[in-house]
């Protein structure tokens, strides 16, 4: 009897509600390089969009490594100054710290970097990396020995002299390999940039845009399965004839028909939602589906995108960060890929109005089974400081999912609000220290990144981490739909490569289980096939490998 009581007391202690808090340990962890984005003052729109952050286990040691993209200066771009910054690959040492191995790995980037996505495009078991840039992209193939090779030319995914933004990989044609979509932002003449003088709410600013510029085209590359890609933009129906300012793309099966659809967040233009027609083509359906614009019919300055089934109804919902003065938008998937703007009823609308948002991530930070929401904020105009209530550097925000479709701002309670205000941009989530709770990396424009360690999340609730290994499907299982059932709760998650803002999340799916000590897992693989694993014990990582047949 005493033993039972002790066990129960121990169990209660383990899962007793603990308030997780976040602390910035970037410096301690060795992430001390400044992320350049043109420098100060901000004279051109090129200089204000920052760059991304990607998690990938490049050396397959079980720990997520980190790739931070770096920008440049206009002078460097014009060849008037030597580029003295690079992107950074930080190897996770497994002890809470990182070591810069960029040079050794051979992946410094080749220009002004913006986004990154980590994905095994050639299905060789090693995670590769695509960097989107101002100008041609770079595809680094992971050789498997700690180094990467620039295979952009061979792969044919450079994309030419276009300002490329937040890309995404997925197997849109379900042929077993990952295809690539890269949105184009705008046509900026870096050789002869025009200095614009505009007004923002009565304040004179210079780095204005994107309105007033011509947009840049989007591109869809179909993976040929041999290390090369073919540009199928036109024939697939994602041409972007209107040349909207594409910022970030996400592949997800929004209508639950088993085929990945494509959402493109456009800045100051209607968003695109391309429905997969299952024949290699897409049909754009943004307006009819309700995600092209806000619920008030306004065009959004869509920056970052987060996807999750936040209310556990089996349909994947969308969250988009926007410009200051507009609320960030939570689009609830009402079923079959039709969405409603529930920003205000959910409690997210009003607190986000004063801020300008970029990276956005759903993460169950307290392991209670409900995906919470993190937003990275920061203004584009330094000139606003002292003149408006908005500020250039802004606090970050964390919203706790209360269930029943409601969120509450817990930035203060979790220490997020105590962090120094930043002009943050890219960001992604990962359990970098493998302690069972989700941490956050935030790329800071013109500053050092923030690595927000989750302290207490793993003690706040049980968890389960799922690694997918495709065989007939793409090796990483990108596009798979995973359900985790515990008691009366069924959580649904999709594995994506490319999300948030210019970034990639931990490819291992993390589920908070609350007080549940075991769960049933169901994996629906891209291209078909359902795999179930029953009664998986909590607080561990499992690998689900797709059967060969």
């Amino acid at each position: 009897m005493t033993r039972v009581i002790c066990f129960l007391a121990w169990q209660a202690a383990v899962v007793a509600p603990v308030q997780p808090r976040f602390a910035d340990i970037a410096s301690k962890a060795g992430l001390n390089d400044v992320i350049v984005s043109g420098g100060m003052p901000k004279r051109y729109v090129l200089e204000v969009n920052g760059s991304g952050a990607c998690w990938l286990d490049f050396d397959r040691d079980g720990y997520q490594d980190l790739y931070l993209v770096n920008g440049a200066t206009l002078a460097q771009l014009q060849g008037k100054a030597v580029r003295n910054t690079t992107n950074h690959l930080y190897r996770n040492n497994g002890k809470g710290g990182f070591i810069d191995v960029t040079a050794k790995a051979g992946m410094p980037g080749t220009g002004w970097g913006f986004g990154c996505i980590a994905a095994d495009y050639d299905n060789d078991g090693n995670t590769d990396l695509l960097i989107t840039q101002f100008g041609p992209n770079v595809l680094y193939r992971n050789i498997g020995n700690g180094t990467f090779a620039d295979v952009t030319g061979k792969a044919n995914v450079g994309g030419g002299a276009v300002w490329h933004a937040g890309a995404a990989f997925s197997d849109y044609d379900l042929d077993g390999d990952l295809d690539l979509f890269v949105p184009g932002y705008l046509d900026f003449d870096s050789k002869n940039p025009i200095l614009k003088n505009c007004e923002y709410r009565g304040v004179k600013v210079q780095a204005c845009g994107p309105l007033g510029y011509r947009g840049a085209p989007d591109s869809l590359y179909r993976n040929n399965g041999d290390g090369t890609f073919t540009d199928v933009t036109r024939q697939s129906g994602v041409l972007d004839a209107k040349l909207y300012f594409g910022f970030q793309a996400v592949f997800e099966d929004f209508d639950n028909d088993g085929w990945p659809d494509l959402f493109v967040g456009n800045d100051s233009n209607p968003n695109y939602l391309y429905r997969n027609n299952r024949d290699g083509t897409f049909t754009e359906n943004g307006i009819a589906s309700g995600v092209a614009l806000s619920g008030d019919g306004k065009e959004l300055s869509s920056m970052g995108i987060a996807v999750a089934d936040y209310d556990h109804d089996g349909w994947m919902d969308l969250f988009v960060t926007t410009f200051a003065g507009d609320n960030y938008v939570l689009f609830h998937n009402d079923g079959d890929g039709f969405f409603s703007d529930v920003s205000y009823p959910s409690g997210i609308g009003e607190p986000t109005v004063p801020y300008l948002g970029w990276a956005a991530m759903f993460l169950d930070f307290d392991n209670d089974g409900h995906p919470d929401l993190f937003c990275a904020n920061g203004h584009v105009f330094p000139e606003v400081d002292g003149k408006l209530t908005e500020t250039f550097r802004q606090p970050q925000q964390l919203f706790r999912n209360l269930g029943a479709g409601k969120f509450r701002d817990v930035s203060a309670a979790t220490g997020i609000a105590k962090l120094p205000a930043q002009s943050a941009r890219g960001g992604s989530v990962a359990d970098f220290d493998n302690d069972g709770d989700m941490d956050i990396i935030v790329s800071v424009m013109d500053g050092k990144p923030m690595l927000l360690e989750n302290r207490g999340g793993h003690a706040s609730g049980n968890w389960l981490r799922i690694v997918l290994q495709g065989t007939r499907a793409n090796r990483m299982g990108i596009g798979a739909r995973v359900k985790v059932k515990t008691g009366g709760l069924t959580q649904t998650a999709g594995l994506r490569a490319g999300e948030s803002y210019l970034s990639s999340n931990d490819p291992r799916l993390h589920f908070g289980l609350g007080t549940a000590v075991e769960a049933d897992v169901e994996v629906v693989w891209p291209g078909g096939g359902i795999q179930r694993v029953r009664s998986v014990a909590a607080n561990r990582e499992i690998v689900v490998r797709q059967p060969e047949k």
Binding site: G202, I287, A288, A292, G297, G349
Partner: protein, 539 residues
């Protein structure tokens, strides 16, 4: 009331007393006194009146005339006593007040003179030259603008009186308004050399109009118009008399005739402009006032009237220059300032409107117009927080007015603070229960809170308002979709599209509803139209 019969000519200053010559004095002491006054035997008249006072202490006519004869003998203290007693016993006694004012001026107490004369000048009574005396008192106190405006107000009552114009010219000269002074002196000269018959006819017209005898007035006025050649100055004076009596077509006719006879006659163009403005003939008013403005650019009245006409004609850019000139001459004029601010706002010059409105709102006002315009200017400048502060100030100053509450709620909505806006919309609705705008605002807040049934009820009411029907229909459709009442949502939107086929918002919502109803073809068609309309820059 003292009955005054007047037969004097235009230059007479003290037209108030009949002149009668009789072979012998009547028995009535008041009548006796009148005869002696006419003979300027003031001392004898005083004795008669004092006897009458002793015999009939309540005889106010005797008392008033006693005061007058004492005044004429410069027995000022005694005169003051007599006039004061008349005022005390039979207020308002404007004529007695007039003489007390005159006494104050003789005693060099202009401030006291103003106190006596202001109510007299403001009354509808024709009391000697009260306006001239009051104007003089203002001028002595250095209040030149008031001195000028008093005379300008008196001119319509006696438009034949050249002395008024002369005094006005003097004041304008002192104010540095050389052009205006020249015009006033010219008018004075014209009237001095006016045909005596015309002057008498004008006085007949004035008297007849006062009694409401329009036929007699037209008959006398016809004589002025029929003269060959007609005197333009007299025609203007005639027009002024007709205009004051509300006989606008006749006034306009006289002004037009004067302007034709003398195209350089400023008063003719100014007055015809004013007459057209009064009748709502904006194009003609603008034409006439523009001519007047070219003849006398410094004329505040012309600039003010022209500015108003241009604002009414929605020619906001053109209105700014005359309004700016008028306001420079008279910065305290709130209405003028508000008109100019409106003109600035309507031409996208919120930056110009802001300092003007800040100045205007620093003054006390009877209504919240200036504050509401300031909110508009701040909103146009995207200073939403500033606009919210101003709205809150407006609500504090005018707690019983609905408009400040609605302005505050609107600003809160602009800042995304729907939760805070909701009770303010409710308050506004309480203050103005028929406000469709408040109904719509409240409905939107309820929708944002996810309270769709309640939102629907308010949208249905708001849909009755012409300015709110579109927003209400869209709102209704959204709530119906949220409540999964898709067919009703479709019906609402299709019906609304009938009168609003160019609305992108409606078509967007309709596309969504069609898609949910499985009509992807119709959804795609609406989406295509939306795309087309956006490309074409539709609202």
């Amino acid at each position: 009331m003292i009955d005054v019969r007047c037969i004097g000519i235009a230059t007479a200053l003290f037209v108030g007393i009949c002149c009668q010559v009789r072979a012998q004095l009547p028995e009535d002491p008041v009548a006796q006194a009148e005869i002696l006054i006419g003979q300027e035997q003031f001392a004898k008249a005083e004795q008669v009146l004092m006897t009458a006072r002793r015999q009939q202490p309540d005889n106010m006519e005797a008392l008033y005339r006693l005061g007058y004869v004492q005044f004429r003998q410069r027995k000022l203290a005694a005169a003051k006593q007599s006039f004061s007693a008349v005022i005390a016993a039979a207020p308002p006694a404007y004529f007695s007040r007039y003489f007390l004012g005159r006494i104050s001026l003789l005693e060099e107490n202009a401030a006291e003179a103003i106190r006596w004369l202001e109510p007299v000048a403001a009354s509808k009574e024709a009391v000697f030259d009260a306006a001239v005396q009051l104007s003089g008192a203002y001028a002595q106190m250095g209040q030149l603008p008031k001195a000028a405006s008093t005379l300008q107000a008196a001119i319509p009552r006696s438009p034949w009186d050249g002395a008024l114009y002369f005094r006005l010219g003097q004041i304008q000269q002192r104010m540095g308004q050389a052009g205006m002074a020249r015009e006033s002196f010219a008018a004075s000269n014209r009237l001095k050399s006016a045909n005596r018959d015309d002057v008498e006819r004008l006085m007949e017209v004035s008297a007849a109009l006062r009694k409401g005898e329009f036929a007699a007035a037209f008959a006398a006025g016809g004589g002025v118009e029929a003269r060959q050649p007609a005197d333009p100055g007299a025609l203007v004076a005639l027009g002024i008399l007709y205009g004051n009596a509300g006989l606008d077509p006749h006034a306009l006719s006289a002004f037009e005739a004067a302007a034709q006879l003398d195209p350089k006659l400023f008063d003719a163009h100014l007055n015809r402009g004013l007459a057209h403005l009064k009748r709502g003939n904006l194009t003609a008013a603008i034409e006439a006032l523009t001519v007047a403005g070219k003849l006398l650019p410094q004329s505040v009245e012309t600039n003010r009237a022209l500015g108003l006409a241009l604002v009414m004609a929605k020619r906001y850019a053109d209105a700014q220059t005359p309004l700016e000139q008028a306001l420079r001459a008279d910065p305290a004029q709130q209405r003028l300032g508000l008109m100019l601010a409106t003109a600035y706002l309507r031409t996208g010059s919120a930056a110009k409107a802001l300092p003007l409105l800040r100045r205007l709102t620093a003054q006390e006002a009877e209504d919240p117009s200036a504050l509401l315009l300031l909110i508009d200017a701040q909103t146009a400048s995207e200073d939403f927080h500033g606009a919210l502060q101003t709205a809150r100030l407006a609500r504090r100053r005018f707690p019983n007015a609905a408009e400040p509450a609605m302005a505050e709620a609107q600003q809160l909505v602009r800042l995304g603070q729907y939760q805070s806006a909701r009770p303010i919309w409710e308050l506004a609705l309480g203050l103005k229960p028929d406000s469709m705008e408040a109904e719509l605002g409240l409905a939107d807040c309820l929708q944002k809170a996810g309270e769709h049934d309640q939102a629907l009820a308010h949208y249905q009411i708001a849909a009755r308002g012409r300015g709110t029907v579109l927003g209400a229909k869209v709102g209704m459709a959204r709530s119906l979709v949220a409540l999964k009442r898709l067919d009703e949502a479709r019906a609402v939107l299709e019906e609304a599209l009938g009168g609003n086929s160019g609305s992108i918002l409606l078509r967007q919502e309709l596309s969504r509803v069609y898609a949910r109803l499985g009509r992807s073809d119709l959804a795609a068609e609406q989406a295509r139209l939306v795309d087309q309309m956006r490309s074409a820059g539709s609202p």
